[in-house]
């Protein structure tokens, strides 16, 4: 099944390898458009998409909006804070209201895992998950995979280390699900309080030291550490965290030659990643941002693109 046959993009867990490849392949020409002087093609003219963010994320939202605009879709943004939900309107009612405004695609960020799955069941619009709770962030996973493939020429069989708060990270989950479909060896590292129970059952190797995870790795993906986790007692202090888990230049000697460093941003410099690493020659962090727009263009194109919707009508 091709990804363009799907109604929604909710996560990489239930996406097939071929579907992921279709998205990544489609992102290649999209990246050309992003790099052009005139970044506009008429592909999605007359189509509407709306971003609905129940949790703040300027960069992901902007990335989706630009992706839509470059493809000539009409993009709109509904800023909903969690507090407005507490004022009374249910998610179902909010979505119904949006649906009546006519967009084909809703791009949703929500603090609760599974919220986009719930929405997808209750609307005829196509739903793109832009991050749900601690569950998945599929377009981030896809842009990470696109970036890795671009640099390594392949995904199959790579050794990938994911560092930081694995337990609460939707980026980690989407990466793990996606990369495992390509036979990657995925190691995760962080303090035991931030490593999920039974993660081995997924086929992922848990490590408590950076060194163990990084040894021989082709890719190092550093996650943002959230300071709230310290308040929750999951580690003693930010200082101790950075002493034990901050990625430093000397770590790179353990990695495979030509290893690359990713970070989904925004970075806490000096906490989970040193500035030398963030700005160093192995860092592909800025490229990830550009690739994010390209991958989102690919997803929008495949979900809203010409033929199928017209045929359906």
């Amino acid at each position: 099944m091709g990804f363009d046959q799907r109604k929604d993009l909710l996560g990489l867990r239930d996406l097939g390898r071929e579907e992921i490849e279709q998205i990544l392949d489609t992102a290649i020409p999209m990246k050309d458009i992003v790099q052009r002087e005139i970044k506009k093609v008429p592909t999605l003219r007359g189509k509407g998409l709306i971003t609905v963010f129940y949790e703040n994320s300027t960069r992901t939202r902007t990335s989706f909006e630009l992706a839509g605009k470059y493809l000539s879709a009409d993009t709109s943004n509904l800023a909903v804070s969690t507090s407005s939900v507490q004022k009374g309107e249910t998610l179902r009612d909010t979505i119904k209201t949006i649906e009546m405004m006519g967009p084909q695609v809703i791009i949703m960020r929500h603090s609760m895992s599974g919220a986009p799955h719930y929405v997808a069941r209750n609307t005829s619009m196509r739903v793109i998950n832009a991050g749900d709770g601690t569950n998945e962030h599929p377009t981030q996973g896809l842009l990470d995979m696109f970036t890795i493939r671009e640099h390594k020429g392949r995904l199959d069989g790579l050794k990938v280390a994911i560092l930081g708060d694995i337990l609460h990270s939707r980026v980690a989950r989407s990466n793990i699900y996606g990369l495992l479909k390509f036979g990657c060896e995925v190691r995760v590292a962080g303090p035991p309080t931030l490593i999920p129970p039974d993660v081995e059952r997924l086929g992922v190797k848990p490590c408590f030291t950076l060194e163990e995870a990084i040894r021989g790795a082709d890719v190092i993906n550093v996650l943002r550490i959230q300071k709230e986790r310290q308040q929750a007692g999951l580690f003693p202090s930010v200082d101790e965290y950075s002493n034990l888990y901050m990625l430093r230049p000397d770590h790179l000697r353990l990695a495979a030659p030509g290893a690359i460093v990713l970070h989904p941003g925004p970075m806490n410099r000096g906490v989970e990643i040193s500035s030398e690493m963030a700005d160093g020659p192995r860092s592909v962090i800025n490229e990830q941002v550009m690739n994010g727009v390209a991958v989102r263009m690919a997803v929008l194109f495949l979900m809203m693109g010409g033929g199928r919707d017209e045929a359906a009508s």
């Binding site: 609760m112 895992s113 709770g133 129970p197 059952r201």
Partner: protein
């Protein structure tokens, strides 16, 4: 008013009865059994109403010692009348309702209200539990004597576990005056905070905050030690983990006065079903992983578990039609319990039918110290008749409960309650009440 339930297979585990016979009822009491081989049977009962129970299983009325009827305070979810009707349809003739109402059942007036409303509804018998502490706040003991006088048969703070060990100690000690069980919802709230499902492989995969089995087990261990210290009667409700069972097994062997119950959903569903983010799978304690479910089944057939209870937790649609983390926990279980156990455990060979009947009758009666759960002459004529081969699909739209929240919706199950007789009156027949 006479009634003859004819030619059914009588299973009365309290007296090791398993034979085809007639049950004779007069004025709401059991008169006795008359063997099908008796040539004179029926000759003196010409004026009795006869119910042909051929091919059916005739049991003492089922008792569910753990339901939530939401009345007073949350009648939009369920009230005592609709809850009673759901119970009757599900084959239950006695239920015990939890005190987490508004106001809390922490005084005689509220307990009397519950008794009165149940009597007015006139369907089945509802026995309330009083709260252990005033307002279920976990600080000061309720007036247990007044609650017992008003009809309470046990004490529980239900979903609000008594976190203070000293308060729990005093409750177990003080309740000895009444020989009433302290029913403990074992959960260390510090370990479950914000948890949405069982902690394990699937909680990571679905990105939902986990609740470790140890959140239950540490409290089971604490309460068992306090029961030993005080000599009070402890009943652990909805046991859901292997470790809790091990603790209870050791405590029983040691002679500690402990009993426990398990729910149909914990016996038949695993945490894997949460993957749909169907809020009907959200329940407290959460659905556990396969190894825990197997341990529960094993303990059930070995006799470690005293009774099956539904933890019937009706919710309004709005509480479930939402994001998973926002959903209220609970399953409306009264109308599916018997069919789920019949289909998944009895017909699959995992549980003997006699054992099942005892878990729904004499088991809970003993926990509560009730003179029920048997067909002995003189007992209340509460009878549950099961059609073991009736196949039906679970359709929440036909529930007598106000609630529709069930993860069993759409499942085809074999073996359903066929008739419920409460104090000699037929109150439900094939799912219809009245």
């Amino acid at each position: 008013m006479r009634l003859r339930v004819r030619d059914g297979r009588i299973i009365d585990p309290a007296h090791n009865v398993d034979s085809v016979a007639d049950v004779l009822i007069e004025d709401g009491r059991i008169v006795g059994l008359e063997p099908a081989t008796d040539p004179d049977r029926g000759s003196t009962q010409g004026d009795a109403q006869v119910i042909d129970a051929t091919g059916k299983i005739v049991c003492p009325g089922f008792i569910d010692m753990h339901v939530h009827f939401r009345d007073p305070g949350y009648e939009y979810k369920e009230d005592i009348e609709t809850g009673s009707r759901a119970a009757a349809a599900g084959g239950f003739t006695t239920v015990c309702c939890m005190p987490n109402t508004d106001p809390v059942i922490d005084n005689g007036a509220v307990a009397s209200y519950v008794r009165k409303r149940a009597q007015d509804a006139g369907v089945i018998d509802v026995l309330p539990f009083g709260s252990i502490t005033k307002r279920q706040a976990g600080e000061e003991l309720s007036e247990m004597g007044e609650l017992v006088r008003a009809g309470c048969v046990g004490f529980s703070d239900d979903g609000k576990p008594v976190m203070r060990a000293d308060v729990m100690r005093n409750a177990l000690s003080y309740s000895r005056i009444f020989n009433a069980p302290i029913i403990s919802h074992c959960e260390d709230l510090n370990l479950t905070r914000d948890g949405q499902m069982h902690e394990g492989y699937y909680s990571f995969v679905f990105g939902l905050k986990g609740i470790p089995a140890e959140a239950e087990e540490t409290m089971v261990a604490r309460d068992l030690l306090l029961a030993r210290l005080t000599g009070g009667r402890l009943h652990v409700c909805h046991v859901s983990t292997r470790g809790s069972l091990e603790l209870i097994r050791r405590a029983k062997a040691e002679g500690i006065a402990v009993t426990c119950e398990v729910t149909p959903h914990h016996l038949t569903l695993t945490d894997e079903v949460v993957g749909s983010y169907d809020t009907n799978t959200k329940v407290n304690p959460p659905l556990r992983s396969e190894d825990h479910v197997q341990a529960l089944r094993q303990a059930l057939s070995e006799g470690l578990i005293d009774c099956i209870a539904t933890d019937h937790a009706p919710h309004h649609l709005e509480s479930k039609d939402c994001e998973y983390a926002a959903a209220a926990p609970g399953i409306a279980g009264l109308e599916t319990a018997v069919a789920v156990i019949m289909d998944r455990l009895v017909h699959s060979g995992a549980l003997d039918i006699t054992k099942m009947v005892s878990l729904f009758t004499v088991g809970p009666a003993r926990v509560l110290g009730l003179d029920r759960g048997t067909l002995s002459p003189g007992a209340r004529a509460d009878i549950t008749i099961i059609d073991p081969d009736r196949v039906k699909r679970v359709n929440p739209e036909t529930f007598n409960s106000k609630a529709r929240n069930t993860p069993f919706a759409g499942m085809e199950l074999r073996g359903w309650p066929w008739m419920t007789i409460s104090e000699g009156r037929v109150v439900a027949h094939d799912g219809s009440v009245g």
